[in-house]
């Protein structure tokens, strides 16, 4: 048995111990600047001249593991393709120096950019788009100190599901719309309500539903979260399939009492006479880069210790639609958190018909034998990259598990996977800060009992010499301008692996 304790930090971060990595922002951001100006100000060109999703991989001089899923770094639409083409054409006719600079940059980065382009299989247009992106000159007039520090994030789409019927390309918010559309069509008692849902919602999750199903089924509520959830509980108790939207998960706290004290305990306290199982609460969740204190929170941990409700977080559009439909069908009040950073960035082929993905079942995304990685939501994609890097750089085989349902979570899958690692080693990542993360019960190598409907399921896990590490964000609040540093270190590509014998 060997004793090795090390971690891998990508070299571009090593010398940036005091400065976070300055890499491309990947997610879609609305900008009121014209497309041309958006390119110039560094939106796609990171500080220090790094560009592209493969900057880290490029630095490490690695090819993507051919076994891993191909990555989509950005959602390229035909519109952006056209815009890119316009930009290129413009620069072709612009002064010579600009064109030379652009060409020079392209050539310099050509080696770096080849790898991801070769592996992108989303479609010809996206690789073309990436090529065009490379061609655009980095004309930012900002100094280095003014350039934005941005976190690295790559979305890893699922393979196309074949068992649910015909599929179409959707991003996360479209998959939510599709799920809600299926629900409203099949269930005449279904109603959707929340702040601003009528016109489509601030994240466009309910676009078109009011026109299609009528204003008595899709309606706005005033600004009162406690009222929204309380009202939802009542509607659910009376028999309607109530789908409440909280505009941001950060605003769910006025409704905390209603969820924990009313919704969760309704069935229990009435002796099964009444229940509000028809209630589903949806909320955009998680950090997005510019959300700061009140548009970035991930409150699943607060609800994770409350028996009577279910907490579900998907990692992508296919999962999202299936899990949301399961939540709506489930006979318990469910809270469904949708990672807002993935609303536009996550694009997959999603079945158009209704389908369900079972709750309380963790999914093993990648098999492995050395260490188990557990995460949910956005962090799955981070850990996919980590797993690839661990495989290539360290030769460590990682098992990646998506917990999906936070409460009640699938202890069997996690334990089985962990115990199968010799010695049992569990790494759990989430982008919350340390004291808020849902793994207080993981910490210390014990998996404590998770009461499910009053039953105890304690897993004897601590008997074997086990190692558990949790990777999360710094334990501090999310101030506006530190968000990126917060995220950078939370999404640090470091894998702590300890093997002991």
């Amino acid at each position: 048995m060997y004793v090795v304790c090390f971690w891998t930090i990508p070299c571009c971060l090593v010398d940036n111990i005091n400065r976070p990595a300055q890499i491309t922002v990947r997610y879609e951001r609305r900008s009121s600047l014209p497309a041309f100006a958006r390119r110039r100000d560094g939106h796609f060109n990171a500080g220090q001249g790094k560009i592209g999703p493969s900057s880290i991989q490029g630095r490490l001089d690695k090819r993507l593991n051919p076994l891993t899923q191909p990555t989509v770094s950005t959602n390229y639409s035909p519109f952006r393709l056209k815009r890119d083409a316009v930009i290129i054409i413009f620069f072709l006719f612009s002064p010579l120096t600009t064109a030379m600079a652009a060409a020079a940059r392209f050539l310099l980065r050509g080696a770096v950019s080849k790898a991801p382009i070769a592996n992108v299989n989303v479609g010809a247009q996206s690789s073309f788009g990436i090529t065009l992106l490379r061609l655009s000159p980095n004309c930012s007039s900002k100094t280095k100190t003014q350039r934005r520090n941005a976190a690295h994030f790559t979305y890893h789409p699922d393979p196309v599901p074949t068992e649910y019927g015909p599929t179409t390309k959707m991003n996360l918010f479209q998959s939510v719309t599709s799920a809600l559309d299926n629900t409203l069509a099949s269930d005449p008692t279904a109603v959707i309500f929340g702040e601003d849902v009528a016109f489509g919602g601030v994240f466009r999750c309910t676009v078109g539903l009011r026109d299609k199903y009528g204003k008595d089924r899709v309606f706005n509520t005033p600004l009162c979260e406690q009222g929204i959830v309380g009202f939802g509980i009542g509607a659910a108790v009376a028999g309607a399939t109530a789908i409440a939207e909280i505009q941001f998960a950060d605003y769910i706290y006025p409704a905390f009492d209603q969820i924990v004290n009313e919704a969760a305990k309704y069935r229990y306290r009435s002796g099964n006479l009444f229940d509000c199982g028809n209630l589903t609460i949806r909320a955009p969740w998680g950090c997005v880069g510019h959300g700061s204190l009140y548009h970035s929170q991930s409150p699943e941990a607060f609800f994770a210790h409350c028996p009577g409700i279910k907490v579900v977080i998907p990692r992508g559009p296919v999962q999202c639609k299936g899990l949301l439909l399961s939540c709506i069908a489930d006979q318990n009040p469910c809270i469904f958190f949708e990672p807002k950073i993935l609303y536009r960035a996550a694009v997959e082929q999603v079945p158009t018909e209704a389908y369900t993905i079972p709750l309380s079942q963790a999914e093993v995304i990648q098999e492995g034998s050395d260490v188990t990685l557990v995460a949910w939501g956005t962090q799955i994609h981070v850990l996919t990259e980590v797993a690839n890097m661990a495989q290539e750089k360290l030769g460590v085989s990682c098992e990646l598990i998506d917990l999906q349902t936070i409460l009640p979570w699938d202890t069997e899958t996690v334990c089985k996977a962990t115990i199968c690692c010799a010695p049992p080693t569990l790494l759990q990542g989430h982008h919350l800060n340390c004291s808020r993360g849902f793994s207080a019960c993981f910490e210390g190598g014990n998996i404590l009992s998770s009461p499910v409907g009053g039953q105890d399921r304690t897993v004897a896990y601590q008997s074997r010499g086990s190692n558990h590490r949790r990777l999360c964000c710094r334990d501090q609040l999310h101030s506006a301008n530190h968000t990126q540093r917060y995220l950078d270190n939370g999404m640090l590509f470091s894998v702590g692996i300890t093997s002991s014998g």
Binding site: R19, T145, D196, L223, L471, R474, A480, N481, S494, G496
Partner: protein
């Protein structure tokens, strides 16, 4: 040409000396048409000076016709009306017999001060808009232009030792409560020179006796009641002004606060800044009762034109007197309007028409209203106001320059002030092996 200019100069001086005498005598009390009846000479002079002024205005800020500049420049400050009284709109009352007075007196100094402050707020918000679009300001930015009269008028009715708390549209209040433009802009850009050391951003700005800047809608109102309790407890004759918007008026905690403050007779002024839209939802679509001043039920309320700084000031004075006399809380609804959208990510025209915005801008703009009042009553000259504009512009430019070049807070600040602690303690970083220090 030059001789004619000299002629105008001499004639102008002579005429205006005569004019001055008449004007000084006539400027006591209300200078409205029914009290001060100009004789024919004064009428003629008024016409001449108006024509010359009008040509100056139409030629733009920089280009002023020679004659007009000579005529105007030769007027001394003694020419200006030291104070004037204006009619202001009657307010709607709820559970009150008497309301604020129907006239307001404005002195020249006050007028210039209000003008300068409102212009500073306006230009600062427009500069913030510009910087946001250049991605120098990030995150959220809720702009206050159009509502300047509220901030300035409220401040005119209370003192700096009183307390104030508001929601996220807080840049104007930060300024009126003692912040400087430099600090505000540096906070918007997240630099260490910012008013909250760069850690708060747009929504979290604080000064002495100004409790922010709060992100969660409606959450600041119970806080305001707490501050008011402290004022009452300490017996210092101070009060707390608690602001919220028309959207927040539907939050449950506001009603809880009404009950508590009324029960304990707290010196709190609830102010609902009704800018007609809660983000994108108009008041008709979100509220069963759009008479927000009556929503306090057992709390007396007044509804005030929030675009007129004098209306707001008089109403605030009235409300402050009500609170300080121990009668308990009072509710004010300010009917105002914001020109920008809810925040910088809202274009502001998907739920209202551009014509509506333009109409409000042309008919009820607070700065224009004050400017017209002062000019038509000869309380300031247009050049003076233009000088103020130029000075304000320069101040904003300097502040923006500072905000763009100031360094960001150091990384050590990332974990500071989480708790209050004597010794610095270690904060776990992203991995169990990274440690950061939290100082306080």
């Amino acid at each position: 040409m030059s001789s004619s200019a000299v002629d105008v100069d001499l004639v102008g001086n002579v005429i205006l000396v005569a004019f001055c005498f008449d004007r000084q005598e006539g400027r006591r009390g209300k200078p409205s048409a029914d009290r001060w009846r100009p004789n024919s000479m004064q009428k003629m002079l008024t016409i001449i000076s108006n024509v010359l002024r009008g040509s100056a205005r139409s030629n733009g800020a920089q280009v002023v016709s020679e004659a007009a500049s000579l005529v105007v420049a030769s007027r001394s400050y003694a020419d200006f009306t030291p104070e004037a009284t204006f009619d202001i709109k009657k307010v709607d009352l709820h559970r009150l017999e008497e309301g604020p007075p129907l006239t307001a007196t404005l002195t020249r100094e006050e007028g210039l001060k209000y003008y300068r402050t409102m212009q500073t707020i306006r230009r600062m918000e427009l500069k913030a808009d510009q910087l946001y679009k250049q991605k120098i300001i990030r995150g959220f930015c809720h702009l206050y232009d159009g509502q300047e009269a509220c901030a300035v008028g409220i401040e005119g009715g209370i003192t700096l030792s009183d307390h104030l708390i508001t929601a996220y549209r807080a840049h104007g209040y930060t300024l009126t409560r003692g912040g400087t433009v430099r600090e505000i802009m540096a906070e918007l850009t997240g630099r260490r020179g910012g008013i909250a050391k760069g850690k708060g951003g747009s929504m979290h700005m604080y000064t002495k006796n100004f409790y922010g800047g709060n992100g969660i809608v409606g959450a600041q109102v119970p806080l305001g009641a707490g501050v008011a309790l402290a004022c009452k407890y300490l017996g210092n004759d101070q009060l707390c002004v608690s602001l919220y918007g028309d959207g927040a008026a539907n939050q449950g905690q506001i009603f809880e606060t009404y009950n508590m403050s009324s029960l304990w007779k707290l010196p709190i002024i609830f102010i609902c800044e009704n800018n007609q839209y809660a983000m994108g939802t108009s008041v008709e679509r979100s509220a069963a009762s759009t008479e927000y001043y009556k929503r306090g039920d057992y709390i007396p309320g007044i509804r005030v034109d929030g675009m007129d700084v004098l209306c707001v000031r008089e109403a605030t004075k009235f409300a402050a007197a009500h609170c300080r006399s121990g009668k308990g809380p009072i509710l004010m609804e300010l009917q105002t309007y914001r020109y920008h959208g809810h925040s910088m990510s809202d274009p502001g025209v998907s739920y209202r028409t551009r014509e509506e915005i333009q109409e409000v801008r042309s008919k009820s703009d607070p700065i224009s209203m004050l400017k017209d009042r002062m000019l038509s009553n000869n309380m300031a000259s247009i050049e003076e106001l233009k000088e103020i504009d130029i000075a304000v512009r320069k101040e904003i430019e300097d502040a923006a320059q500072f905000a763009t070049t100031d360094p960001e807070p150091p990384l050590d600040d990332l974990c500071s002030h989480i708790f209050a602690n004597d010794q610095p303690f270690e904060v776990r970083g992203a991995t169990p092996w990274t440690k950061l220090t939290s100082t306080s």
